[in-house]
Symmetry: C3
């Protein structure tokens, strides 16, 4: 992996821009645009820290490729029955760990705050993003895309249920 010194300050700012746009899409945008943040051959995984630390593969959500993401979107928009809820992603501590062969490895911490009707705001899910990012190669010049996003969450207990991706 390339040394951190070779990355420069703008990389983190660009990664933060990506993550904040990603979160805005889930919190206040159109979930059908969620796939636009990923490459065609992407991997998305939501997994508990307990399983992750033990090397156990089972995740709460696991999607391969944009098709897998579309399945998840279909579940949210067409299949599942759930209360309306307000979601607010707090993303912090974004770090660029390195770049190698055009793949940028990053981490960030996140807390998703959830508010159900007539309830107080609570922490739905907190933990760490572990992601691999690449430049979009489709000529659209759209900048960074997510090739792999692993959300390692702290609590094996999930209050109620996780409807939306994290």
């Amino acid at each position: 992996m390339a040394t951190k010194a070779g990355i420069g300050v703008k990389a983190r700012l660009e990664v933060e821009d990506l993550l904040y746009a990603y979160a805005d899409c889930l919190d206040h945008g159109d979930i059908n645009q969620w796939t636009d943040f990923f490459t065609e051959d992407c991997t998305y995984k939501l997994i508990s820290k307990e399983n992750w630390d033990l090397g156990l593969p089972l995740g709460t959500i696991f999607a391969e490729g944009r098709g897998g993401l579309l399945d998840r979107i279909a579940s949210v928009t067409q299949t599942s029955v759930y209360h309306e809820r307000a979601l607010t992603h707090m993303i912090s501590n974004t770090r660029v760990l390195g770049v190698e062969d055009g793949v940028m490895e990053i981490t960030a911490n996140y807390a998703v705050l959830e508010t159900l009707p007539n309830q107080y705001t609570k922490i739905l899910n907190s933990g760490r993003y572990l992601a691999k990012l690449v430049r979009a190669g489709d000529g659209a010049g759209e900048g960074l895309k997510i090739k792999e996003l692993i959300c390692v969450y702290d609590s094996a207990l999930v209050p109620a249920s996780i409807i939306y991706p994290v």
Copy 2:
């Protein structure tokens, strides 16, 4: 609205500096200096996401112009009776959406943590800042000022009461 590409990386950093100074004023500073962050003709509104999404105008706090802000400060410092409390603003996900005719539109997510005497820390209010910022035109060269700040908060339930602006 101008394209995002024309904004550049420094704009977000400058906006973050403004928001962090704003929060420091409310959390640890002198609330009498709160008005300094706004233009003379400013608007400040604290409104629930429920009302905001339905287009209903009613806000929990609504102040027009610096005079309106001063009213609010008078309420906090001279009229209201309340417990001392520790407040900590966590501001994240700051995004510059665009600049047009010298007005910068931005969003950010926030969570205000409140601690009352002999109680645990809880989430008092979380949500999103929607703001319009302008360059100070008063020759003081103080940089960005808030022309409009709308705080859209997630939970229609407020634990105890909101004393300070958010």
Copy 3:
């Protein structure tokens, strides 16, 4: 203290890099490397806002010099008996207040989220970092080190106990 205008935008980014690496060490790294973030003659203090505001010196953790930090690490790794826990630092609102005689004064807000086995995630500790940073003078070119870190936390009540430094 030097004026803020003389500091420039890169200073905050560099401070954030330091704080995020610091937090990663405590959340997911090897606590034995915690001392590497400090100067030899450092001070580390964890103190309630109540005591801090009253000018009372008593802190929950107080360590002088790297030797003091090593004592704390020994307590965590060899002496104390406690449950495994997941920790996630959310650090935001980083501000560079000034630089004088090579010492950079900064503040940031933090919330440490803690998850015990089979429990929901809760706010363990939130508050403010007040820190003095210096350039490493040991020829290693490692950048900023912490000369003084005071963690002023909001709630005099601590759920269960604080095992790790904040």
